[in-house]
């Protein structure tokens, strides 16, 4: 038995507390990372974490290939540009590490140190298929507390910084599915850079004709200013 739409109260999901992290993997030639809110400790002896990653994330394949990854705990004031790079772009197309501070761990995994309070380096113990995503469990081989301070939480990001989940996040909510009854011929704002999509103008550079509703933009369409995907826009 699967829950139907009326069984699921989306507001209830916002009562789950999460931090925001960058999970990175790779080696000297290929590296990537993604923004994750799905990180928790699963055992104390030995210390192990579990993280959840979309099968579509390039980092997922790098974790399985290299059998290691790192978790960087973001500071509350982490720059939006860092979150945007790791949360809304694919590491297949972009070198996410080209202009940020990072170090390399004893496993060879890259570890983001920019805007990070602490990090954990982990060696993969299990990969579990949970459908659209993979759960990775991993033993901690090294930790670092860079500085004390407040970690960025998902509720703070959502409520104070008006951010939303990247499309590949397990907590992503498709705005089209939850607003089916509303008219869609309205302006949408990019939550990352503030760019407004106006259907009356379309997006000439992205070959989108004037008069195209936001909901009719192709799934591959990206914000012409910052590259964020459709899921990063909210109706204004």
């Amino acid at each position: 038995m699967t829950a139907t739409a009326q069984d699921i109260n989306l507001e209830a999901f916002f009562k789950i507390s999460y931090g925001l992290y960058i999970v990175s993997a790779g080696n000297s030639s290929k590296k990537s990372g993604y923004i994750s809110n799905a990180v928790f400790q699963v055992t104390a002896e030995p210390a192990q974490f579990a993280v959840c990653c979309s099968k579509n994330n390039y980092t997922a394949s790098l974790i399985n290939e290299n059998r290691s990854f790192s978790i960087s705990v973001l500071k509350r004031d982490a720059a939006q540009s860092l979150i945007s790079t790791f949360g809304y772009k694919s590491g297949k197309d972009t070198d996410k590490f080209s202009s940020i501070k990072y170090t390399t761990g004893i496993t060879g995994a890259p570890i983001v140190t920019e805007y990070s309070l602490a990090w954990f380096e982990c060696r993969l113990t299990q990969t579990i298929d949970v459908g659209t995503h993979l759960l990775f469990t991993a033993e901690i081989v090294n930790t670092c507390l860079i500085e004390d301070g407040e970690p960025l939480t998902y509720s703070y990001y959502r409520e104070e910084r008006k951010g939303k989940a990247p499309k590949n996040a397990p907590t992503y909510i498709d705005p089209d599915k939850n607003n089916e009854q509303k008219s869609d011929s309205e302006k949408y704002k990019c939550l990352l850079c503030g760019h407004i999509y106006d259907p009356a103008e379309g997006d000439p550079e992205g070959r989108i004709a004037p008069g195209t509703d936001f909901k009719d933009l192709p799934e591959s369409w990206q914000c012409p200013v910052c590259g964020a995907d459709k899921g990063s826009f909210d109706r204004v």
Copy 2:
């Protein structure tokens, strides 16, 4: 390669953000629940959660037997007595539901509604052995938002309410192991009820002789006032 003590900075672990939940399982004749901070969503379609549970928790066997469980999101001001009952006592010995508000879900699982903002009822999809603990993944079959408000987070519980992780929590830190160099002939305070254990007095009712250091109390020893276990005490 396993991390050695010097690789592990315990302060780094406190930068991971968690909520606090009651995870419950059972049926009309047997039910139990435990306090968990290890809850996250793993997929959106279908909506699935993962929770982590000590193999020593009675609830773990009830989840596997009944193949369902519920997650109640605790309010920030949840009564310490509720946290104490679900976090520091075993459901084998106590009917944790005898004096609290709960409902029964469509799977038969008990769902704690007292001091809860929201709940999720879940049907088990996978049980994954991660060592001392089990990871359960489960599909959400029903949700309820009881009221809006601030959820209790682990950092709030630890910093503002001075609580600590139950002994079976994945994030539990053994105070004896982390203070090996310190003398132990000192008083200890129960973080749940405030009772002071004084080695000079011992615990006559618990058959502990005067002059017994806290570290020499048996692992089965409990706070004579509220029943919390040794792990719930901190040096004063």
